[in-house]
Symmetry: C2
Subunit: 125 residues, 2 copies
């Protein structure tokens, strides 16, 4: 960890935290968003902590497990961190599906929050 640039450490810590929380209890995800946050989930748009958490908690499965295949992080000119994740997920007893997800992280009042998030299943690859 010590040899990696700080933005890569922050990005990969965020990604680990996000999927652990998502898989364990996604009602707790609110802490990572702010009211300006945007989520696009399979083409549907949501804005704000409340709307985003409502969407994530109303997804129609009981159990989910993500595994990450690749993650890339970059610093941006506005001191944010851009992260793109490629992986697979298994929801309930459904078949394993590929997914891709992008996050933009920003330091807000001393904490790293997710201001932008886009999720797509890899159905068309």
């Amino acid at each position: 960890m010590g040899d990696k640039p700080i933005w890569e450490q922050i990005g990969s810590s965020f990604v680990q935290h996000y999927y652990q929380l998502f898989d364990a209890d996604r009602t707790q995800l609110g802490a990572i968003y702010i009211d300006a946050s945007c989520l696009t989930w399979e083409g549907q748009q949501f804005q704000g902590k409340a709307a985003i958490v409502e969407k994530l908690t109303s997804l129609p499965f009981q159990k989910i497990q993500h595994s990450i295949t690749a993650q890339d992080h970059q610093p941006t000119p506005d001191s944010c961190i851009l992260s793109m994740v490629v992986g697979q997920l298994k929801a309930d007893d459904d078949q394993v599906l590929g997914f891709h997800q992008t996050f933009l992280l920003k330091n807000f009042q001393g904490a790293w929050v997710c201001t932008n998030e886009v999720f797509r299943l890899a159905l068309h690859n």
Copy 2:
């Protein structure tokens, strides 16, 4: 087009322009980057217009054709535009491969440029 939010119009115009240029003559892509731009291409990192164009033009194929399956755009708190693209590409006579690509666009001296770009083939889905 007129009914869509401005950030979606800008994002989708950029995406159309990028892939047209990439498929027609990728040596011309330099105009969309600045010296602060970052590219991560299949996990390899490049920074700056010159290094990015050198990477893109040295990719080992003569012909390439992209087709876009889905694209999502969002405004960010720093007045940037985040775009995630999912699609397929065919390079030379190789098989068709899925890919995902994320762009962060910023208005720089009156023009929209790409400050951050991440590309991954969908090999593991």
